[in-house]
Amino acid sequence: DTAVSQTPKYLVTQMGNDKSIKCEQNLGHDTMYWYKQDSKKFLKIMFSYNNKELIINETVPNRFSPKSPDKAHLNLHINSLELGDSAVYFCASSPTATSTDTQYFGPGTRLTVL
């Protein structure tokens, strides 16, 4: 009965590869997010989708492309991986895009680029 799930939990890959991280929520929420937690532990928002429509797109390299096939899924595809992409990536969801809605986070995906 996991609310927000991510796969894989760990991902180790070589520089230059292309990889995807999947996220699914079974809460019936309209809004989903991707965050990156870097080596300094800051948690920074990357993207947000509301009902499959992109509503937040931070300054993220265009090698990162979110895809939302339906409102329960938000996948993150990363092209030409670089060493600096190593981080923990968290998916989250909220009932709506209303500012006071609580965001529920997945367990994270630790990406290591060698």
Binding site: K44, I45, S48, I55, S99
Partner: protein, 111 residues
């Protein structure tokens, strides 16, 4: 330029005592503040929030205080319990659902 800062990377408190976690922010226009708690290998979970129209919000053992003039937010946990050992993140709402997080404070409760 970090808009929200948690200057203490770690804090150790005796069980039963009060834990006080602090957070400073830069912009007086921010109007909604949150605390999240994170255990290892899990995602952050929402703990408590406060709107800028209030200066205090309480939920059981957890109280958040907001000092707008000092642009300072604090979380008080009393009494502290071993299960409170975790990393605590403060967050501010910039706009809509965009949250900006601090870098976290690792709280350790000692028996």
């Amino acid at each position: 330029d970090q808009q929200v800062k948690q200057n203490s990377p770690s804090l150790s408190v005796q069980e039963g005592r009060i834990s006080i976690l602090n957070c400073d922010y830069t912009n007086s226009m921010f109007d909604y503040f949150l605390w999240y708690k994170k255990y290892p290998a899990e995602g952050p979970t929402f703990l408590i929030s406060i709107s800028s129209i209030k200066d205090k919000n309480e939920d059981g053992r957890f109280t958040v205080f907001l000092n707008k003039s000092a642009k300072h937010l604090s979380l008080h946990i009393v009494p502290s319990q071993p299960g409170d050992s975790a990393v605590y993140f403060c967050a501010i709402r910039i706009r809509a659902q965009k949250l900006v997080f601090g870098q976290g404070t690792r709280l350790t409760i000692n028996p």
